[in-house]
Every structure is written in structure tokens, then in C-alpha cells.
């Protein structure tokens, strides 16, 4: 059993509301993405994080823009929680010039270095070294930032994770490796092909391995805060396995060519543990007025609508841009 940390956590009201707002923003963003995908408006692969938002939000709530993150193909939530503007995100996902990457990256490659987002990644496990390297910069340059590496439970079988755990351990890098353990790697239950517990995989490297309820935003926030504190104190990396469930399809549109590969009842069961309703219940029980929460929901939905409008109004990049950005020009 994963310990219930949420009840033990006290956070001030404005932070609580902010967490709620972030959760709602991501959910609204992703639901809109699903809708847009159904309308055939989105090119390429799109992976949404519905049901897993608490990990992104809990984690990024203890980071500053000076801290870095690397993300995955399922990265929209991380970006938003790290401060990304939904309009520019939609623009990127649409392939428009006002997107974060001028339309060159798309859903799997949203990057904003100003926000400390070193990038989503289309290669499973591909961002793990990059996050480790961002941690190295802190150590070498004497900074106080940390680096957070989000990766999936499927990515936990990529060798590069272990190389990183070793490197971060011996160099005491301020890196927090956060596994979004959502039960699936594409269409296969992760446990079918994954020996043991992921959170224990760091133990032989002398790196703390922690399991946390990934659908409990306060619990995530708490363990990440502890890991971040350790990292900032120069005590090195932490591995956190945040247990959640991928309510959404692996990729939008998959049902067009796939039969069901999991029982609906599983999905239903996890819907009952939805991180947003759970947190809402908690807020209400803390005495927060329902109207305040509803207003947040309205505002975030409106933000998302405005974001889509912004994106749709943005032009595609001009064809000449194809040849740009291969190399940086020195001194430019």
C-alpha cells in the first residue's frame, strides 16, 4: 500500500487553489486536444495525460523557472504545469508559426528554454540523459537549480535510465527522476514485461527510490519537495515512481485500428480515483466554496478556447523555414 501523504500535508489556500487551477487547465487542454483530434484537426501523433495530471502539477508546483524539466511524448501536462501558455502550445500542436517551436516540433517536441522546458521527446527514454546533463550544469556552475526528468513506466526498461542513476549518484547531481507509472506502455500492461518494482531500481545505486500515489497532487508535491530539497542541499538524485493510470488512449485515434486491449472496468475503477475530483473533494472538505472552484473551471475552459482561437489564427510557417534552424550561426 502506498502511504496516504495527502492528509498529512498542509498547504496554504492560495497554493491549493493554484494547484486546482493547474489541474483543471491541463484537463481542459487535453479534453480539447481529444476533441480537436476527432475533428481531424491535429497532424501527427498526440498523446494526452488525462488522469495523470497530478504528477505534473504536484511536481512543477515546487519548481521555479530556473529549474529544468525534460518530458516525454505525453508531455502537455508537464509543459503547462511548468508555465507554458496554452495558446502557444496549441499553435505548436497545430504546426503553426506562433507555436513554441514555430511549428517545427509538434506535440512530441514542445520546448521552451525560457521556461526551463528542455523538451518533450519522441524517443522513449531519450530525455533522461538530457535532464542529467542539466543537473550537471548546476553542479559545475555552482547553481542552485534542479532538474526534473519525467519518464514513463515503459521507459524504465531503457538502459539509459540506469546509466543516469549511476552517473547522478556518483556526481551527486540535483536530478529528480519521476516515473509516471500509468500501467501501460502503448497497449501492453507494463507489469507484463517489467521485473520487480520500478521505484526500487535506484536502490542499488544508493539513490532513494520512492513510491507515491500519482493521483494525489498533494502527495506528489510533498515527495517531490523533499527530493528537491535534498537535491538543492547537494545530496543528489531521487527516483520517484508516481503510480497512476492512463485513462486515455495511448495515442488519440487508436481505436480506429485497435480492438480493446483492457477491460472497461479497469478504466472505470481508475476514473473513481480521478486526481481532479479527489482534489476537489478535498478542497470542499477544507471549506472552500464550490463557486470559487467552478469559477476556476470556467476560467480555464475559457483560456483553452482562447488558446485554440489564437492557434487557429496563427499561420503555418513559410516553406523557407524548412531550411532554417539546422545550425546556429556563431555570434548571431
Amino acid at each position: 500500500m502506498i502511504e496516504d501523504l495527502s492528509s498529512k500535508t498542509s498547504v496554504d489556500e492560495s497554493t491549493m487553489l493554484d494547484l486546482y487551477r493547474q489541474l483543471v487547465r491541463i484537463r481542459s487542454f487535453e479534453e480539447k486536444v481529444q476533441e480537436l483530434h476527432k475533428l481531424g484537426k491535429l497532424p501527427g501523433f498526440v498523446h494526452v495525460c488525462i488522469g495523470e495530471e497530478a504528477i505534473a502539477v504536484g511536481t512543477c508546483s515546487v519548481l521555479t523557472t530556473r529549474d529544468h524539466i525534460t518530458s516525454t511524448h505525453r508531455g502537455h501536462g508537464h509543459m503547462i504545469a511548468k508555465g507554458a501558455d496554452v495558446g502557444r502550445m496549441y499553435a505548436e500542436i497545430f504546426g503553426r508559426v506562433d507555436g513554441y517551436c514555430r511549428g517545427k516540433g509538434g506535440s512530441m517536441h514542445i520546448i521552451d528554454t525560457k521556461l526551463g522546458i528542455l523538451g518533450a521527446n519522441g524517443i522513449v527514454g531519450g530525455g533522461i540523459p538530457m535532464a542529467t546533463g542539466a543537473g550537471l550544469s548546476e553542479v559545475v556552475l555552482g547553481g542552485n537549480g534542479v532538474s526534473v526528468c519525467f519518464f514513463g513506466d515503459g521507459a524504465a526498461n531503457q538502459g539509459v535510465l540506469f546509466e543516469a542513476l549511476n552517473l547522478a549518484s556518483i556526481w551527486k547531481l540535483p536530478v529528480i527522476y519521476i516515473c509516471e507509472s500509468n500501467n501501460f506502455m502503448e497497449y501492453t500492461p507494463t507489469a507484463d514485461l517489467t521485473a520487480g518494482h520500478i521505484y526500487e531500481r535506484s536502490i542499488p545505486f544508493g539513490v532513494p527510490g520512492i513510491e507515491v500515489d500519482g493521483n494525489d497532487v498533494l502527495a506528489v508535491r510533498k515527495v517531490v519537495q523533499e527530493a528537491v530539497d535534498r537535491a538543492r542541499r547537494g545530496e543528489g538524485p531521487t527516483l520517484i515512481e508516481a503510480v497512476t493510470y492512463r485513462i486515455a488512449d495511448h495515442a488519440e485515434g487508436e481505436s480506429a485500428f485497435l480492438d480493446a486491449y483492457r477491460p472497461d472496468s479497469d478504466i472505470e475503477q481508475w476514473r473513481d480515483r480521478d486526481p481532479i475530483s479527489r482534489f476537489r473533494t478535498r478542497l470542499l472538505s477544507d471549506g472552500i466554496d464550490e463557486g470559487v472552484l467552478d469559477e476556476i473551471v470556467q476560467e480555464e475552459r475559457a483560456r483553452v478556447e482562447a488558446g485554440v482561437e489564437f492557434a487557429e489564427a496563427s499561420p503555418f510557417p513559410s516553406e523557407e523555414e524548412t531550411l532554417d534552424h539546422v545550425f546556429a550561426v556563431r555570434g548571431a
Binding site: 517545427k104 522513449v124 526498461n157 514485461l193 517489467t194 524548412t322 539546422v326
Partner: protein, 321 residues
């Protein structure tokens, strides 16, 4: 004769091969389904002992195939997208492509490394590579890249039966291509090009999806009285130099279409090779039509802009006339 989609033809060759040879096994991520359907439902028929779903650990499963092949199995390895080869590149280049040579010819390594390849609609820079030039440069890998379902079937049959590591790249822009495939199993010898359309004035060597573009163009130009010969090499290693050289010696003009980046790509190689073989027949500078040297961009118009189009190809053909 049934009409099959491109990847259905691949699937059928795998199924036939698994029936005829018990040592053929399948490994890869989600191969019970198969990313492009090439192994879908085989698990029901052949069971989980022979259809092995792997964790997301490309280096180890690409490399395991080498050990397995050296000890009695014939692994068909689904790497999914060809961009993922890079994750397992040591095992492909330093191990699979080297073991036989380093052993002085002791081992046979009957392995097929399959992947979908090339852009498939804004899948962006990490899911759109066409890495065949790298594989061609390796020495020790055969490289197959067909353009039709019928060729895909026959070449996959030959690839699985081949005693060497074969990289079989299925061009994802052929996913919706559906055409006739003979019912009776057959194979197409690796290293035999196919003259997809005979002609007299210009030779176009076209790889994978660009074959269709070249054939379209040939039809267009026919009305102008320009007779285009379209050759599909089908396998890049071994390469059927004779068929191409014979054609160029007839036409005196060469255009190569390759859906890949330019620098050190297959197109340049084919031109250099024909220079060497048929220089005196060349009536004009050979032309190549490739992507520019950029990663594949996401945005639909940008992605489209890198592709080998009929207009590009036409320009190249006219440049030789």
C-alpha cells in the same frame, strides 16, 4: 490473386515463413498487434513462445537477435520506427553487421530487422528518418526497401530465408497502397532491381515511395514524347548495378530519386557508381532529387516541402535532356 495493402503483404510473408520454418520467431514491442500490422494476430496462431513482446529496450532485443540467430533461431525483429535503430545502433553496427566477418565466416546470422520508415504525416524529426544510407555504409547488413505489396512479399520471403542480417524498411507513405499479390508464395532474390517501366530517353532510379512518383511522371512525359525508364532497385545492398548501368548505357541520362537526406545518401552513391561504370554513355550530368539536409519538420507544409515531388523530379529529368 488478392489485393493486399503494403504492410499486409509483409505480414503474409512473415506468416508463411513462420509456418514453413519453426525457427522463425518474432520479437518487438507490442508485436501481438504490430505497429503497422505486420505481425498482428500472429500470436494467436503461433503462440507467445514464438511471438515475443519485448519491453522498450531496443539495444537488448536487437542484440539478442544476434545471439539467438547464432544459436539456431531466425528472428524477425520489429524495431517499429526506423528512427529507433539509433537506440540500438551498437548492436546493429558493431555486433550484427560484424560478427560473421570477425569470426572468419563461422556464423550465419539469419535476422530480419524490420521497421516502418520515412515521414508518415507530421510524426516529426524522431519518427521520420530514412536511414538506409547508414545501413548501406555499414558493410554486413543487407538493405531492402520495396515499393509495392508484391515486391514487399517476395522480398520479405527472401529476407527471412537469407542467412544474413537484413534491414527491411517499409516506407510508411506506402501504407495506403493496395495492389495485387500472387496467392502462391514466391520470393524475389535480394539484389535484383526491377524495371518498373521501360523507356528510352532517361533512366530514373527511384527508391521506395518515389517509384510511384516516377511512374506518374513517366506517364505525363509520354505525351510529350519523352520516354522514361523507371528502375526500382528494391534492395540497396546488394545493389543491382548491372540493371541500372545497362539502362543508362541505353538512355545516356540518369536521375535518382531518394526519399532521404542528400549528403552521403543513396542517391549520391548511385550517381557515383554509375559515373564509374557508364561514364562514357552519360549525355548529361546525372541529377538527384532528395530531401534537403534537414531533420524532418513537424508542420504539415514544411514536412511536405521536403518531399520528393513530381515537379522536382520533372525538373531533374528536364535538366538531363
Amino acid at each position: 490473386m488478392a489485393k493486399l495493402y503494403f504492410f499486409q503483404a509483409v505480414r503474409r510473408a512473415i506468416e508463411v515463413s513462420m509456418e514453413e520454418d519453426e525457427t522463425v520467431i518474432v520479437m518487438g514491442e507490442d508485436v501481438d498487434l504490430g505497429a503497422f500490422g505486420v505481425t498482428s494476430e500472429l500470436i494467436g496462431r503461433f503462440g507467445p513462445n514464438r511471438i515475443r513482446k519485448t519491453p522498450i529496450s531496443e539495444a537488448v532485443f536487437v542484440g539478442s537477435a544476434v545471439g539467438a540467430a547464432a544459436t539456431g533461431l531466425r528472428p524477425f525483429v520489429d524495431v517499429m520506427f526506423s528512427s529507433f535503430f539509433y537506440v540500438a545502433m551498437d548492436q546493429l553496427m558493431n555486433q550484427a553487421a560484424r560478427l560473421r566477418y570477425m569470426s572468419g565466416g563461422q556464423v550465419e546470422l539469419p535476422i530480419v530487422y524490420f521497421a516502418g520508415t520515412g515521414p508518415s504525416g507530421s510524426t516529426a524529426a524522431q519518427h521520420s528518418e530514412n536511414p538506409h544510407a547508414l545501413m548501406m555504409h555499414a558493410a554486413g547488413l543487407k538493405v531492402v526497401m520495396p515499393s509495392t505489396p508484391a515486391d514487399a512479399f517476395g522480398l520479405m520471403m527472401a529476407s527471412i530465408r537469407d542467412p544474413n542480417p537484413v534491414v527491411f524498411l517499409g516506407d510508411l507513405s506506402l501504407t495506403s497502397l493496395r495492389s495485387e499479390v500472387p496467392d502462391e508464395p514466391y520470393e524475389i532474390k535480394l539484389g535484383t532491381a526491377d524495371v518498373k517501366r521501360p523507356g528510352e530517353d532517361v533512366t530514373i532510379v527511384a527508391i521506395a515511395s518515389t517509384v510511384r512518383t516516377a511512374l506518374d511522371l513517366a506517364t505525363d512525359l509520354e505525351s510529350e514524347g519523352i520516354s522514361v525508364e523507371v528502375i526500382d532497385p528494391r534492395t540497396l545492398v546488394p545493389f543491382d548495378w548491372n540493371t541500372v548501368a545497362n539502362s543508362v548505357e541505353k538512355t545516356g541520362r540518369l536521375v535518382v530519386a531518394d526519399p532521404a537526406r542528400r549528403l552521403c545518401g543513396a542517391a549520391g552513391e548511385i550517381i557515383a557508381g554509375i559515373n564509374e561504370r557508364s561514364w562514357s554513355s552519360l549525355k548529361a550530368a546525372p541529377q538527384r532529387v532528395t530531401w534537403p539536409d534537414v531533420p524532418v519538420p513537424f508542420s504539415p507544409p514544411l514536412e511536405a516541402s521536403i518531399e520528393v515531388t513530381k515537379a522536382d523530379l520533372e525538373k531533374a529529368v528536364r535538366a538531363t535532356l
